[in-house]
Symmetry: C2
Subunit: 461 residues, 2 copies
């Protein structure tokens, strides 16, 4: 039990003090709001437990009253057309997930991110920042921008989505960026192939003014979800928010872990710990289950009562996925500080995948949680390492692995799960609620017509 | 002038306060001691200006009274035979250059170094640490060590040099180590080929007990130089120590820069700024000029009065060279904090070299000084960026480059300098003092008999 909370053991006698201090110090209440508003059973939770990085959430959407003016300005500026992933980063920045960043990184921020996984602020304090949030342009674009200090960012439909002010253009050291972010330069890294390999030789940073509510900018609009970091619906009474980042369907092993975490937080003296079930909504690699299907699956898991709807908030983290293991898990955790979470659950090999060339995992499975527990700027977030759950054949359900009887346990990886669903095979009873499993099978069914009978092969990850 | 000192502008009116504070806070005086003791003209300098990292210098040499006992113990322990570079790291660690490290890194230190270029100490403070100081072992060695908690380290002659206590053995993620340290995994990185490519799959960390005075452990003994970090000869009265790291012969451009730095420190109100001319003494790549020849050259430069012997301390930094650019320059600076320097001169492309595969420099020439100015744990070191010096044809001497008349200046790189000396060609008058240049020519002459007329080609660096 003593090893469960690695970073802060948080004995119950100190809880009220910590809690009060955080509450008192928070000038602004961060609201984690349920995506299920459309179902009218949404849980509303507020949490003043933890302040955003730098003390104040940096939201970058222009006021409604200024929008038309700014759009007019945008039309007169040099234009940069954004990719789908660029647009997801505009979304991330606009809502303040990367607080205190004010826009795409300038060189000083980029270099600190690459070398230190953190940024030093003007007052000497340090915040975590482990993945570069940058915008690449090519030689011709740089030439077109010339001496302008502002540019406009356009989406693929030709609409202006943002203005970048006080810009700085600097070299894009692609090899170095890849090596320092992923710890490898092997070909076949999904995010690298999508965004870096063919990107321009320059990066452009600056202060972002987002012209639209971010939910209208990306595909995530289909979920009708409110802005995560805005102040609204703050009538909740959570005294602990524990975040669970995921990009896979929820099986009963995950659920066991989340339920068990809540139990432990109650034991520690918290009165109303709330789970922030927080699927990643941006780019994922081709063989991952797409967000819309994952959201349907998560909904079933809540409907079936595998997770308690009364103490669970489901919301979307709009970031694209890097698959950069120990480097990326810091970003996943840091962004949840800005969402108001004060506990973060970390699993085996977070944000990891197989090495794209060699027959091994890209990262040591334990490095993610170790790095997270030592990362600069994350000291005030309580890191909760996973206990390993597996299918206990003697009980016919997911249970915490008991090393004294390994022969009784079956490990079903994400890869294995996807392969079973693709082949319409059933997992063992008790692995996932039937409603949730059916969503997965339906997803793989849906692929058949549009891809000439070929379903994406599961890539081990 | 305002841009000359990037990190701390250090106006003269605040000097006395800063100075007093540092003096008062330093519980121990760090002495930078001249290597020229053997010439009996040695300048002795003490500086209480800056405390070692973590507050106390960590020296790891056993007391004389314990040496025989410890050597006896070493003979009974599992043995690890050290390479020449391993031995240089024992030397570095023993003398406290890597303070607060107590020995070869354990995994928590290794991971923090790779990801954050810094270590968080028990009290929450942060010190810089950018290059892994690790010891690799292979499967057979790991097997031989078994459950032992101590091992003995032996040199190539079969003598015990140190004991490693409370050991921890962990995986050696070679690709990741290389990518995160160098920002590339291209083949042909000199240090990588020397120490990583064929190294074992495990790293062993632990607390070091060094059995011999470090000066007896490595080739550096030929200089009869005292331990750098020990308290001795502290009768000096320097009030500023500015360090100049180098691995090349000193030409008049370097000298101009050092002389000019002293002038500026005097202008700022310091009474006795002292130059720490600090050549790197450990492993360098094959085409660099070896330490013994460089030391002869530096001696000539002082004899000829190009640098002022009365205000210059020449001493050796025993570290091996990584050629890891912005990552390594932090190590070079951090180690000089532990030597007592409070100003550090940084040049163009520090610790850089050509890309081993592509036709370009491996690092952006400006990244080193930028990264250094933002590096965690180096905040209290004043970073002095180089002004570019070049040969001014109109004056017939090295001078600060004047961008208004570029046609008047000749840039002579280290590569070009080595090529001229190798071919017994003379550089322009005023590039280097004649005595110093003769040492270089003599060096290349000395190579001829032993290498069948073949002199190492200059590798651009």
């Amino acid at each position: 039990m003593a090893t469960f909370f690695t970073q802060t053991s948080f004995p119950s006698h100190s809880l009220s003090k910590t809690f009060d201090t955080h509450f008192a110090a928070a000038p602004k209440v961060n609201a984690c709001v349920s995506f299920r508003a459309r179902r009218q059973v949404g849980l509303r939770v507020s949490s003043g437990l933890i302040e955003p990085d730098g003390g104040k959430l940096v939201e970058l959407v222009v006021r409604d009253s200024e929008r038309d003016l700014k759009k007019g300005e945008a039309l007169s500026l040099p234009r940069i057309k954004l990719s789908r992933i660029d647009l997801q980063w505009v979304h991330v920045l606009s809502e303040g997930w990367a607080t205190p960043l004010k826009g795409f990184m300038k060189e000083a921020e980029f270099l600190q991110t690459l070398h230190f996984n953190s940024l030093r602020l003007g007052d000497g304090s340090v915040v975590n920042m482990s993945v570069p949030i940058v915008l690449a342009i090519d030689d011709a674009q740089k030439h077109r921008i010339g001496d302008n200090k502002r540019v406009a960012l356009f989406d693929s439909k030709g609409d202006p989505v943002a203005i970048l002010n006080d810009i700085e253009i600097y070299k894009h050291p692609k090899e170095e960026r890849i090596a320092r972010t992923w710890g490898t330069t092997a070909s076949g890294l999904p995010y690298v192939e999508q965004t870096i390999t063919n990107a321009g030789n320059w990066l452009i940073g600056g202060d972002l003014e987002s012209l639209n509510p971010s939910s209208t900018m990306t595909d995530l609009i289909i979920f009708d979800w409110p802005r995560q970091n805005s102040v609204r619906n703050s009538q909740g009474n959570a005294d602990a928010v524990f975040a669970f980042q995921l990009r896979n369907p929820v099986h009963n092993g995950h659920a066991l872990l989340m339920t068990d975490t809540r139990r432990r937080l109650l034991e520690m003296g918290y009165k109303n710990p709330v789970l922030l079930l927080h699927p990643l909504g941006g780019y994922t690699k081709a063989d991952d289950v797409p967000l819309d299907w994952r959201m349907k699956q998560h909904e079933k898991v809540l409907e079936d009562g595998v997770l308690d709807p009364e103490t669970t908030v489901v919301s979307i983290f709009p970031s694209p996925m890097h698959y950069a293991g120990p480097t990326e898990v810091q970003w996943h955790a840091k962004a949840r500080i800005n969402a108001g979470a004060n506990f973060y659950i970390v699993g085996r090999d977070p944000a990891g995948m197989s090495h794209p060339v060699e027959k091994r995992d890209l990262y040591d499975a334990d490095h993610g949680k170790k790095v997270l527990s030592m990362a600069p700027g994350l000291e005030r977030l309580n890191i909760l390492p996973f206990r390993v759950a597996a299918y206990d054949k003697t009980q016919g359900k997911m249970a915490f692995f008991d090393p004294s009887r390994p022969q009784d346990f079956l490990f079903i990886s994400g890869t294995k799960m996807r392969t079973l669903a693709r082949n319409k095979e059933s997992p063992p009873d008790g692995f996932m609620c039937p409603g949730g499993w059916k969503v997965l099978v339906d997803y793989y069914d849906s692929l058949l017509p549009s891809s000439n009978g070929k379903v994406p092969e599961a890539v081990p990850a």
